[in-house]
């Protein structure tokens, strides 16, 4: 970008166009919190970008080490506040695996259903907020209407609207309330029907297409090198989904419903498209789970636990396909009632590292489009 300097030779050296340093964040509307990007700009074109993380570091991993397994679930569900249920899942899966627990069948199906509903909630947030970042202010309200209905379903069962705290080691906290399955199914139907509203509102919009197509293209190599996962990786043609490739819970039996949504282009639009389609798949999955749960015979939904829950000595790595990508817990236990170490591999942390390579060459306005399409949660980055 140096050629400009020589071209604007005129009054003096001080008047040549300089590269401007622009700090996006930590307080900026497009960073959803406190991510900070240090951009070097030439005009409006980004010369280099450096994501600076850690403004919201809460020391989650260290806190895990001084909490027992019941408390850890509560802590773990907070780092990515848009997929609380799925976060809890990894912890309990790891603990159950170490304990050698056999999960009740109904618990496994109920968890799968709730995880998928949580995924829908999460994706709806994206479907609303991404157009908002590109200046379309209406879709978010449609997305939130759907979220509201789904949250009612989740609230009825767990009492929480965001931080559900419904997982326990060995199952779920309570059994499903009477009639809940039907109400959930009705809501799923309604949401699936109205998802078309959001799609019609924004998906085919010329401006939206122009803003997102061909912008922020991630290659398969980049995705592999940076360890991107989840819908962002799948939008770039990486056909990898833990729900299918290493099934946990009841996903192994949902093979005919579970379609892994992939796109080829790897640009912002394909990421949006991928997430939109994945929302539909998740609704299908949740409905299939509801059908199955209704068909299952009565039985326990959790296991009785000892007063002091000690996990035997050993280690395990439990990873789940979270809405944002792969979320993994590496649990090392020394037989205490607290873990010796619980390492958290969060999806957003890996996903945003690629920004430094992805942003240069784009305009500031593209930065917003790319940042939004990377779909991160700052809490998930900073942990």
């Amino acid at each position: 970008m140096g050629q400009l300097v020589e071209r604007t030779a005129g009054v003096g050296a001080g008047l040549a166009t300089e590269d401007m340093i622009l700090n996006i964040g930590p307080q900026h509307p497009s960073t959803h919190g406190v991510l900070r990007l240090r951009l070097v700009l030439d005009g409006e074109r980004i010369v280099s970008a450096e994501p600076i993380v850690g403004y919201m570091h809460r020391g989650a991993e260290k806190l895990f080490e001084v909490r027992d397994y019941r408390q850890i679930i509560m802590l773990a569900n907070r780092h990515d506040w848009l997929s609380a249920f799925c976060n809890e899942l990894g912890v309990v899966l790891a603990a159950e695996r170490m304990l050698g627990m056999e999960l009740p069948v109904r618990a496994s199906w109920a968890r799968t259903m709730l995880a998928e509903l949580n995924r829908v909630l999460n994706h709806l947030m994206f479907l609303g907020s991404y157009p908002l970042e590109l200046g379309a202010i209406t879709p978010i309200f449609y997305a939130f209407r759907e979220r509201e209905d789904l949250q009612k379903v989740m609230e009825e069962i767990s009492g929480g609207r965001m931080h559900f705290m419904f997982n326990r080691v060995g199952g779920l906290k309570d059994d499903l309330p009477a009639g809940w399955l039907d109400r959930a199914r009705r809501t799923i139907h309604a949401v699936r029907g109205r998802l078309a509203d959001i799609e019609n509102l924004i998906h085919g919009n010329e401006i939206f297409r122009a803003r997102t197509e061909g912008v922020g293209v991630l290659t398969t190599e980049q995705i592999a090198a940076y360890g991107l996962s989840g819908p962002i990786a799948r939008a770039g043609g990486v056909d990898f989904d833990l729900r299918r490739d290493e099934p946990y819970l009841a996903y192994g039996e949902l093979g005919d419903v579970l379609r892994v949504v992939t796109r080829k282009a790897g640009d912002c639009f394909s990421r949006f498209d991928c997430l939109l389609e994945q929302t539909r798949v998740s609704l299908d999955l949740a409905e299939a789970c509801a059908d199955r749960l209704a068909a299952l015979p009565q039985g326990p939904i959790n296991l009785r636990l000892p007063k002091v829950l000690k996990v035997p000595e050993g280690e395990t790595y439990a990873w789940t396909e979270n809405p944002l990508g792969i979320n993994g817990y590496y649990l090392v236990s020394r037989g205490e009632k607290t873990p010796w170490r619980l390492k958290l591999r969060s999806a957003s942390f890996n996903n945003i590292q690629v920004l430094g390579e992805l942003l240069p060459g784009h305009l500031v306005a593209d930065m917003v489009a790319i940042l939004g399409s990377m779909f991160f949660v700052v809490g998930d980055i900073d942990k």
């Binding site: 496994s108 209406t138 490739d245 290493e246 099934p247 240069p360």
Partner: protein, 456 residues
């Protein structure tokens, strides 16, 4: 129409500017003062109304209720907000260029008020027994005046951005200056067609010339180009790049607070009214009643035209709000490309066609029998041209490679690169099983073992 000759005002105001050097205060001067105060009041009240209007309409589009607490239906909400804004602390950044920082909001708000002066709100009415048109001044070059005044309004934005001494406002200033210059060209070109038809640049003359047909359907392309350009000119969605809140936080007014910010806000909404009023005047018959009403003979006389004008104006404001509720924001370079590569060429071509038509008609070679096939022919050629341009544009978009990202080198930073997934095989290579703990086997799920699942 009342038997009122336009000449009455013209005789007394041979020249509005030089006339003001007369030493005695004539009756028309008092009328002008009344009209000026009224125009000011209308603008301010319209601003308050439009803010409420926008919030309510957008709320309706978004399944919300919107402001409904202060006053009936929340009508006084904007007033309350304005008072609150005025009472806020006025912050001036340390880095700011203080005098310019101070002048900028004024430079933005004052031209916004001035531009409305030449818009005719109605035909002649009687005020205190004197006949006068509902127009502050009837400049023979009134439309030019509006363009000139609104071009001064740009200064407010550019200077606000520069003088804040901060990066986001600077980017906002950069965008808005380029944007407004570009769109003013398209705007001016779209007016040229109207001038050719009306034979005058005076707004009242243009309204009079639309007696037998609004220019909206006589010059459809000019109207469309103007409507697009006016959205660009007022920095409203989807062209609100200078203040794009997702990118530049607040753009040029990021550092402004209190009354200075209120002035920018005021200027934006008054500009909204001004450009809408201009659109109504130039293309939608001004104060003339629309067709079913205009069959009533009294529709275009007395105070009624002001009503029609207001209704048309509010419809335009509604369109603005509608756009804001619907469309995402364009990217800066796309927006500029649209202005320079689509709007300006199209309007120049269109102007040629209009000029040709006028000339043929003036020369008398064009009777009705010839006009229709020629018109259809020209329209077809023009349409083809536009379509061809559009197709070419799209093909180019399709052909252009994605923006250059630095070439990826597998070992550039000394990082080992994992085997590339998804390149040949559709699924990634995966471990034969996922039970890796020493303590316990994986929980088997309902008959599906890990092996089975992973081979799927």
């Amino acid at each position: 129409m009342p038997q009122f000759p336009d000449a009455v005002s013209n005789q007394n105001m041979t020249n509005w500017f030089l006339g003001s050097f007369d030493t005695h205060i004539p009756w028309w001067f008092i009328l002008v003062v009344i009209k000026a105060v009224a125009a000011f009041a209308i603008l301010v009240v319209l601003t308050l109304f439009n803010i409420w209007y926008e919030r309510r309409v957008v709320s309706f589009m978004q399944m919300r209720i919107g402001p409904n607490r202060v006053g009936p239906q929340g009508l006084l909400q904007s007033l309350a907000d304005g008072v609150k804004l005025a009472l806020k602390e006025d912050i001036v950044p340390t880095n700011a260029d203080k005098p310019v920082f101070w002048i900028a909001p004024l430079l933005s708000a004052i031209p916004a008020f001035l531009a409305i002066a030449v818009i005719p709100w109605g035909p002649a009415v009687s005020i205190f027994g004197h006949w006068t048109t509902l127009q502050l001044v009837d400049l023979p070059v009134g439309v030019l005046y509006v363009l000139a005044i609104s071009s001064i309004g740009i200064y407010g934005i550019v200077l606000a951005g520069w003088s804040s001494g901060s990066t986001y406002p600077l980017l906002g200033a950069l965008r808005s200056s380029a944007q407004m210059i570009s769109y003013e060209v398209a705007m001016g070109l779209s007016f040229a067609g109207v001038f050719l038809y009306a034979g005058t640049m005076s707004p009242s003359g243009i309204v009079n010339a639309q007696q037998h047909g609004w220019y909206f359907y006589m010059l459809p392309l000019s109207a469309i180009i103007y409507i697009i350009a006016m959205v660009g000119e007022t920095n409203r969605a989807p062209f609100d790049l200078p203040e794009a809140e997702g990118e530049l936080v607040g753009g040029f007014h990021t550092e402004y607070s209190s009354l200075k910010f209120a002035l920018f806000f005021l200027a934006e909404y008054i500009n909204l009214v001004t450009v809408s009023a201009l659109a109504v005047t130039m293309f939608f018959g001004g104060w003339r009643a629309p067709v079913p009403i205009s069959l009533w003979s009294g529709a275009n006389s007395g105070w009624y035209p002001m009503l029609w004008f207001m209704i048309k104006l509010l419809i335009f404001v509604f369109v603005f709000i509608w756009l804001r509720g619907t469309l995402p924001r364009l990217r800066y370079d796309q927006f500029m490309a649209f202005g320079w590569k689509v709007l300006i060429p199209v309007s120049v071509l269109w102007l040629l066609v209009v000029a040709l038509f006028r000339q043929l008609r003036n020369a008398g070679d064009l009777d009705r029998a010839h006009a229709v096939p020629i018109g259809i022919g020209i329209a077809a050629v023009f349409l083809l041209l536009v379509v061809a341009l559009e197709v070419r544009e799209r093909n180019q978009i399709r052909r252009t490679p994605p923006p250059t990202v630095p070439d990826y080198e597998p070992l550039a930073g000394g990082f080992p690169v994992p085997p590339m997934p998804g390149q040949s095989a559709p699924a990634v290579p995966r471990r034969p099983q996922f039970a890796r703990t020493a303590a316990a086997p994986a929980p088997a799920l309902n008959g599906t073992t890990a092996e089975e699942a992973s081979t799927r």
